[in-house]
């Protein structure tokens, strides 16, 4: 078995273990449709941030500003809608543009001015939070426009959920099967047919089960739909575009990438820009869910996003990491949060346990690397 596979299995195994423990401890409430639905809405914002963070970390950089950027995006949206009577669409476009520009500026400072990303984005973290406090004057701005609010609180109708699931299953099957055909044509080693079928059945089963569970409650939550969309897009960027290839090459060996004619600066600038955009989207989702622009929104979220990426297998040394890993990482952390609060454990336990899980996950990676397996 390949190392990446072992890791994925360990992660999923860990997740299942956590779920089993909480299901037992809460007499089954943990696995109720309602709670699962809550859980995935809770994780959506951090998971969105985590997917963008994976790209940044793979290039060997870091972005500490996204938490503040989430808050700022929500605050600006609220101010525009509540105080300036902007419509929902213009507000969203403005906020997305704002996030993109701020991300790009930080990328510019990192690659063209040579300031380490840690410092640039630490500065961004403070400055964006300051802007947010200035704009909101320290108070929550509410309520948001009704259609804006839907982005955080609405659910996809059950039928639409099933259609979406069917499309997803069809596309994944098509990709896996055509890849197999292409591999056979090029005489590359392929897995046995039985295993491919089994894999497809498991994937289809999981997608269906997921949709059935959420439909049991109210349907697929919009924030989760947004999260899945971003994950899909960024996975394609990472795995199937020039940009993605360059991102891994830069993280794997910066010098070799440079000597190969990769425009390293432009790639890193693009990654920071994308991350700014992703943070703005997360900010919109969060403020829509809260139905307010709050000066404290997104506080410490950059660290949750980094933790999600790292638990999901992204190496801080760069060059290694998968976008979907951040979703799994965020899911593990959200499960811990959710399960422990259901058990009425004090909040401090959540921090302690999440901290331990983070360290444990990286310890697992380090010891795997040592074995060289």
């Amino acid at each position: 078995m390949r190392k990446a596979d072992i890791r994925s299995f360990a992660m999923i195994g860990g997740l299942i273990l956590i779920w089993i423990i909480f299901t037992i401890l809460t007499d089954g409430t943990f696995l109720s449709a309602r709670n699962i639905s809550n859980l995935i809405v809770q994780m959506a914002v951090v998971a969105i941030l985590g997917t963008g963070m994976v790209l940044v970390i793979v290039t060997g950089n870091i972005d500490l500003s996204v938490g503040s950027l989430v808050g700022l995006a929500g605050g600006v949206a609220a101010a525009l809608m509540v105080w300036e009577d902007w419509g929902t669409i213009p507000t969203i476009l403005f906020v997305l543009a704002l996030g993109t520009v701020l991300g790009m500026l930080q990328g510019f400072a990192t690659v063209y001015m040579g300031i380490p990303a840690f410092i640039v984005t630490l500065g961004g973290m403070m400055a964006f939070r300051g802007m947010l406090l200035g704009i909101t004057k320290g108070i929550s701005i509410a309520p948001m426009n009704n259609d804006y609010k839907m982005l955080g609180t609405e659910y996809l109708p059950p039928l639409a959920g099933y259609v979406l699931a069917a499309i997803a299953i069809a596309v994944i099957s098509y990709i896996l099967i055509s890849r197999r055909i292409s591999r056979i044509r090029h005489q590359l080693p392929t897995e046995p047919v039985a295993r491919l079928v089994l894999k497809l059945v498991i994937i289809a089963g999981l997608i269906l089960a997921f949709i059935i569970v959420v439909n049991f409650y109210k349907g697929l939550p919009i924030p989760v739909l947004i999260m899945l969309t971003i994950m899909t897009i960024l996975s394609i960027v990472a795995g199937n575009t020039k940009l993605g290839r360059y991102i891994y090459a830069i993280g794997g060996n910066l010098q070799a990438a440079k000597y190969s004619g990769v425009n390293v600066r432009r790639v890193v600038l693009s990654v920071f820009t994308i991350n700014g955009l992703v943070a703005a989207i997360a900010g919109i989702v969060l403020s829509a869910r809260l139905n307010a622009g709050s000066p404290a929104a997104g506080m410490m979220m950059e660290l949750d996003a980094i933790a999600a990426a790292v638990i999901g297998g992204t190496s801080l040394a760069g060059g290694v990491g998968k976008v979907y890993g951040a979703i799994l990482g965020a899911l593990i952390m959200a499960s811990l949060d959710n399960g422990m609060s259901m058990m009425n454990l004090d909040a401090f336990w959540q921090y302690i346990v999440k901290g331990l899980i983070l360290v444990l996950a990286v310890w697992f990676d380090v010891s795997m690397k040592k074995k060289g397996g």
Partner: protein, 528 residues
């Protein structure tokens, strides 16, 4: 560890006199007996015997890859006892070195080519790093200063012990290294290419200090490519070639030609598939090219070089390590971090190459000298590495993995790369095959000009010949090929025209028919 006191030299000299060091012609402080060291697939040293007299400066010469570095690493404990065969005898006592600390305890201290100083610490902190004088567990700064000052005075160095190392020139840093070695009470001091980073003036100072060390009874082993220095400073010279001991002679009895012959030796083997090439139109022209060191902006690595390369020929650039060859080609390619001046023309058009991005767009390709550092993303697959510089060919928006595999397979078969599949991480391949992957990466960009810097370093003989064949094929296909190499046989065996560099300048241009190893060595070592 003994402590330095005033009159350190006098004491040491007296001690050595008592041992009668200068009296006995056959008083060997160091003897290496039948040293054999093998690496996977290579025998780096083959039953080498070497004897060094007490108090002499003993030169160690040989081409790159002759085994000099290996022998130094064995002597200084980097390769510990048990990883090689043979015996190290110091003062008649066989030694067992488990590591560098053991070697230092026995009085063997090595100053490596790359300096091992901590830039942000002061001179005194560096010299006594790990060996600080303490009082009640705290560093005794006064004592530290006093001891350092004493040491620097003995070497006539006007350096303040409290200066930070980073504020010193490279030459002074080299001297601080020597002071550090002496603080460890070195009996045998090994200097490995100590002047490769120094200016002429700094070289003079260093040689002066080596002479002073000799007067004071320290035995020095001096490794250098620069024969002028060898003749200026050494008493005796030993030569290694291909891991074998060739001989030891007093310097006065050894003519320069004879020494070069000892180093270069054998006839050319049938390793080099020479093919008739026909020089066609001018492809690359470099005018008045100067490159400054990245860290030391006042030092010229390349000094006013002009050269022309033509389609249909292999241009060889020879020269010793540090002569500016690599700096020249990496700067042309836009990858050298230091400042550069001068003009580059490609097919008669002025080319403003500021980065490898520009270079690749203009049809330049550089197979760099260190493939692991600059050539490959080791964790990526063979296919991903081959296509890295030409992803535009794999479709516009989304990469097509089937097209990628087709390209990868094309170069794998064209270059005869031995790999289990296109998907294997490139780090799993042998050195020769890794090098071919780098070449494949560049061929995929359809380069007009291919520059290869040390293309066969660290790869086995069979793969070498393959790479020469590939170069010949490329020349026939109309690519301009430039090869930088420090292996003379390779330069002679493959190039159509040879440029020799020395100290940043091109000092000779030779047709391969008139060139010999002796001639190239003569120019490369600073002869006229």
């Amino acid at each position: 560890m003994p402590v330095l006191r005033f009159g350190f030299w006098e004491n040491r000299r007296a001690a050595l006199d008592k041992e009668g060091w200068a009296m006995n012609e056959n008083d060997y402080i160091l003897e290496l007996k039948d040293i054999t060291k093998e690496f996977p697939g290579v025998r780096a040293l083959d039953r080498v015997n070497l004897r060094v007299r007490r108090g002499e400066v003993h030169g160690l010469c040989g081409e790159n890859g002759a085994g000099k570095s290996t022998i130094i690493k064995i002597l200084s404990g980097v390769y510990p006892h048990g990883t090689f065969e043979g015996e190290i005898v110091i003062d008649g006592v066989p030694q067992v070195f488990g590591g560098t600390t053991d070697a230092e305890r026995a009085g063997v201290v090595c100053i490596h080519q790359e300096l091992a100083l901590v830039n942000e610490l002061t001179v005194q902190e560096n010299i006594f790093l790990g060996n600080e004088p303490t009082r009640m567990g705290l560093i005794d700064w006064n004592e530290l200063y006093r001891k350092t000052k004493e040491l620097l005075d003995q070497l006539d160095l006007k350096i303040d012990p409290t200066d930070k190392v980073k504020d010193l020139g490279v030459g002074q840093q080299q001297l601080v290294e020597i002071a550090k070695a002496l603080s460890k009470n070195a009996k045998i001091l090994i200097l490995d290419e100590p002047t490769s980073a120094l200016t002429e003036h700094e070289v003079e100072i260093l040689l002066g200090i080596v002479r002073k060390l000799r007067q004071n009874g320290v035995t020095c082993i001096y490794i250098s490519h620069k024969l002028n220095e060898i003749y200026e400073i050494c008493d005796t010279v030993s030569v290694l070639r291909d891991g074998q001991y060739i001989g030891t002679k007093p310097i006065q009895e050894l003519k320069r030609d004879e020494l070069i012959y000892m180093m270069v030796g054998r006839k050319l083997e049938m390793l080099f598939p020479r093919e008739p090439h026909e020089r066609k139109e001018l492809s690359l022209e470099v005018r008045n090219f100067t490159v400054y060191d990245a860290l030391n902006p006042n030092r010229k690595r390349v000094d006013g070089v002009s050269l022309k390369a033509y389609k249909g020929e292999i241009l060889g650039i020879s020269g010793l390590i540090g002569s500016g060859r690599t700096e020249l080609v990496t700067a042309i390619f836009g990858a050298y971090p230091g400042r550069k001046e001068g003009e580059v023309y490609i097919d008669g058009v002025k080319a403003d190459i500021r980065s490898p991005v520009d270079a690749v767009r203009m049809g330049l390709a550089l197979v760099s000298e260190d493939r692991k550092k600059f050539g490959l993303v080791l964790d990526m697959s063979v296919a991903n590495n081959i296509t890295l510089s030409s992803l535009d060919k794999l479709a516009k928006l989304l990469l097509r993995s089937d097209v990628e595999i087709i390209y990868a397979e094309k170069y794998i078969s064209q270059l005869r790369i031995k790999t289990a599949s296109t998907e294997v991480p490139v780090k799993n391949l042998s050195g020769g095959n890794q090098q071919k992957v780098v070449i494949g990466k560049w061929l995929m960009t359809d380069p007009k000009i291919l520059i290869l810097d040390e293309p066969t370093r660290g790869i086995d003989v069979g793969a070498k010949t393959e790479i020469y064949k590939i170069m010949n094929e490329l020349v026939s296909a109309g690519v301009t090929v430039i090869m930088v190499s420090s292996e003379l046989e390779e330069i002679l065996g493959i190039s159509d025209r040879i440029l020799v560099m020395s100290e940043g300048r091109i000092v000779a241009e030779l047709d391969y028919r008139e060139a010999t190893q002796e001639k190239i060595m003569h120019f490369a070592t600073g002869g006229h």
